[in-house]
Amino acid sequence: MLRFALRRILMAVPTLLIMAVSVFVLIRLIPGDPASLMLGDLADAASLADLRQRLGLDQSLLIQFGIWFGNVLQGDLGNSITSSQPVLPLVLDRFWISARIVLIAVLIASVLAVPAGMIAAWRQNSTLDLALVGSATVLLSIPTFWLGLLLLLLFGLKLEWLPVVGYVSFSENPTAALLYIIMPVMTLFLHEMGVLIRMARASTLEVLRLDYITHARAKGLSESAVLWCHAFKNAFGPTWTLIGLVLGNLLGGIAVVETVFTIPGLGRLLVDSIFARDYPVIQGCLLFVAFVYVVVNLLVDLLYPVFDPRVTAE
């Protein structure tokens, strides 16, 4: 187990290395210059040259990469071009905000979607199955920004239950913080439920066709015992893997939801940085997201044997 974990962590090193190089190169391939964006439409040549020099953008790409990568190896992701803040604390701060929302949303989505998917499979082709699959497809098809706006309209404007804009951190006031994240969490979990219901249903359907389920039924076990004690463990594996992928995906893709609900999270930081061509922050964010992706999937793999002992970590 330990050796497996170590090997996987070591395998992540080249992934992150390739990521670092490609992010560095790709972002510079996009036209646009942070210095000219900072100076706006009236950048006179002298001011632009001054600023480029101060930001180190006048150096060759190779030198810029060398300096940045050298610092990364020492745990320093550099400073933001636009705000001068150190990137690592900035990314970590924003990450916790996003992570909290994503984790709660995925947890709720999993708790609701897995049983729903299994029940749909168990009652395949019934009205219940159709209703569940239909809702899942609808949820999956609604773009998150639109769903977010609909929720905002309903709970913020019509019912006036929840605050429309702003954000309060948990350390400041946990109750209020909860109010501010209800809608973003709801938007994400409704969307992800669509994905997970379909997966849970499909994998349960496969398992229910197997002989050992027929055997369990032949032994006279109750349907619920068949479903939860026998089918669940084997059917949950693929969904569990998908949950890991969803977690990683959401961390990078939460920007839209954060923009609608004015949440100062990692996704918005990344998008704002791309618009501003804030290279160190973009590189820092993407490297960090890649790292989290690797770690989350490693944890998923390590926990897999708990649900399916046939799969060993070795």
Partner: protein
């Protein structure tokens, strides 16, 4: 059940949110970049910072410059020495009194390369003008000596992107010289900045307002009744709309297209506010095709400017083909003479230009609050109607700005930020392309006229020059300016008098209506 949830949530909110009914919340579409005037800035940054700091002079509503921290400004007979008498009793936010020493300290800090003041090149000789000497003969007087007479010295100092060349107290920077926070003389003091979330400012009770009975641009009466203002970052336009209707935000720039709907909301009032922003189509005069003035004139004749402006502004905008803004004291009869829509003339000009249907690409972007893309679509249709093979290429803003700075385009739907003095406005697009590829109008005669307008101060003489420049610009058509900015803003009925100026929120004139 529902009621109880609502009550519980409401109670929790009361303990959580900004509970002061007197706090006015203003929406910003992006976070500010810093609190350092004229250094790391954009429009949002200027808007917030200019509530806290002030310069010796500032802009009036009509684009002329008036004393602000100065009581009077005297110009020597040779036009090279400016003597500023400071207003008495002006205090910094830390209680210290404003003296000439503070002006000297602030100026010297701006002229230090490590400060990175964006306007340093406008005063150190690299863009022409050089401040040779600054002295303080007594604690209330500052004398600045220039290397040449210029009409633009005070304008440049008042520029909002220069942070109004704000006079700051020494304690604005830390001991080692790095920026800390603005300790200025403005009507509001710096409160708290939560990056990515909000900036709060609190009223400066010892503020000494310049004379006047109402706000006038960035001068005039600036006393404030508000104890606190919160600039809240709300990036999404739909969320801004919802926040305004719900009362979570009091003042916000809104989309033109939302005006009618917001006007119907029971607690919201809306308005349109002009700015000196210039919405234009730029031509690359070095392009093999568009180098031909006849082709450029043909395009200008093919575009029905009033119709285009009406379409891109939901019927609210006013056409203006001049670099002199509609709000400017210099906007007169000569500037009213714009392009006339004449498809037959356009076709004739195309023939004379020898145009054979070669494609002409218009670059545009889809930023909110600028009509770039919509204007390009309408221009394309109008150009196609006379037989011009117009195409549109949509780029993201940073990419378009890069192409603009390199002069790498044929035609571009582009908006210039506001420059209030006409000479500065012309200077935005006229100049030598070899030195600055972003320049659009490269013509020695035009440059000479702009230089002259930058030197002389007499308003009548300057007016003549601007009239002549407008005529030349119409003839040469290096660009088609079609309108100035006309921004839609909304505010809740509880907040009155928070009228924006030049596209920036301005809340010192605001008051909260009591029910």
């Amino acid at each position: 059940m529902n009621k109880s949830i609502a009550v519980a949530l409401g109670a929790a909110l009361l303990t959580a949110g900004p509970a002061f009914a007197q706090t006015v919340t203003v929406a910003l579409n992006a976070d500010i970049r810093s609190t350092n005037p004229g250094v790391n800035r954009d429009d949002n940054t200027d808007a917030v910072v200019l509530h806290m700091v002030e310069g010796l002079v500032g802009y009036r509503e009509n684009g002329t410059v008036a004393p602000l921290l100065a009581e009077s400004v005297q110009l020597s007979a040779d036009g090279k020495t400016y003597t500023f008498r400071l207003r008495k009793g002006v205090k910094f936010h830390n209680g210290a009194e404003l003296t000439a020493e503070d002006v000297l300290w602030s100026w010297n800090r701006y002229m230090e390369p490590k400060t990175d003041w964006r306007c340093r090149t406008d005063f150190d000789g690299r863009s022409g003008l050089k401040v040779e000497k600054i002295e303080a003969p007594d604690s209330q007087t500052v004398v600045m000596t220039l290397d040449r007479p210029t009409a633009l010295f005070l304008d440049s100092m008042a520029r909002t992107d220069c942070g109004m060349t704000a006079i700051l107290h020494k304690s604005s920077v830390k001991e080692e010289g790095s920026w800390d926070k603005p300790v200025g003389t403005g009507p509001f003091k710096f409160g708290e900045w939560r990056r990515g979330e909000y900036v709060t400012l609190t009223r400066f009770d010892e503020y000494r307002s310049p004379p006047g009975d109402k706000p006038d641009g960035l001068v005039g009466a600036k006393r404030t009744a508000l104890p606190e203002v919160k600039f809240l970052v709300v990036p999404d336009a739909s969320t801004v709309k919802a926040a305004l209707v719900s009362g979570a935000v009091d003042v916000a720039q809104v989309l033109d297209s939302d005006l009618a709907e917001l006007a119907k909301a029971k607690n919201v009032e809306v308005g349109l506010f002009p700015s000196a922003t210039k919405h234009t189509f730029l031509f690359q005069t070095r392009d093999p095709l568009l180098g031909n003035v006849k082709l450029r004139q043909a395009i200008a004749a093919a575009i029905d400017v009033p119709q285009l402006v009406a379409a891109v502004s939901n019927g609210n905008g006013k056409p203006n083909n001049s670099a002199v803004a509609l709000t400017s004291a210099y906007y007169g009869d000569a500037q009213r003479k714009g392009y006339s829509y004449d498809p037959a003339k356009a076709q004739q000009l195309l023939k004379e230009a020898g145009y054979k249907g070669e494609p002409i690409k218009i670059i545009a972007n889809k930023r909110v609050h600028v009509p770039s893309f919509n204007a390009a679509v309408i221009a394309q249709a109008m150009m196609q109607a006379v037989g011009i093979n117009a195409e549109i290429e949509v780029l993201e803003w940073a990419t378009q700005l890069d192409r603009y700075n390199k002069g790498n385009y044929q035609m571009m739907s582009f908006s210039y930020s506001a420059r209030l003095d006409p000479a500065l406005s012309y200077e935005q697009f006229a100049g030598p392309k070899d030195k600055q590829p972003r320049k659009v109008w490269d013509e020695a005669e035009a440059e000479a006229l702009i230089d002259k307008a930058s030197t002389i101060s007499d308003q009548t003489e300057r007016q003549k020059i601007f009239d002549e420049l407008h005529k030349r610009q119409m003839e040469m058509t290096p660009l088609v300016i079609f309108a100035n900015g006309q921004e839609a803003w909304g505010h809740t009925k509880r907040v009155q008098g928070a009228e924006p100026w030049e596209g920036k929120p301005r809340v010192w004139g605001a008051r909260v209506a009591t029910n």
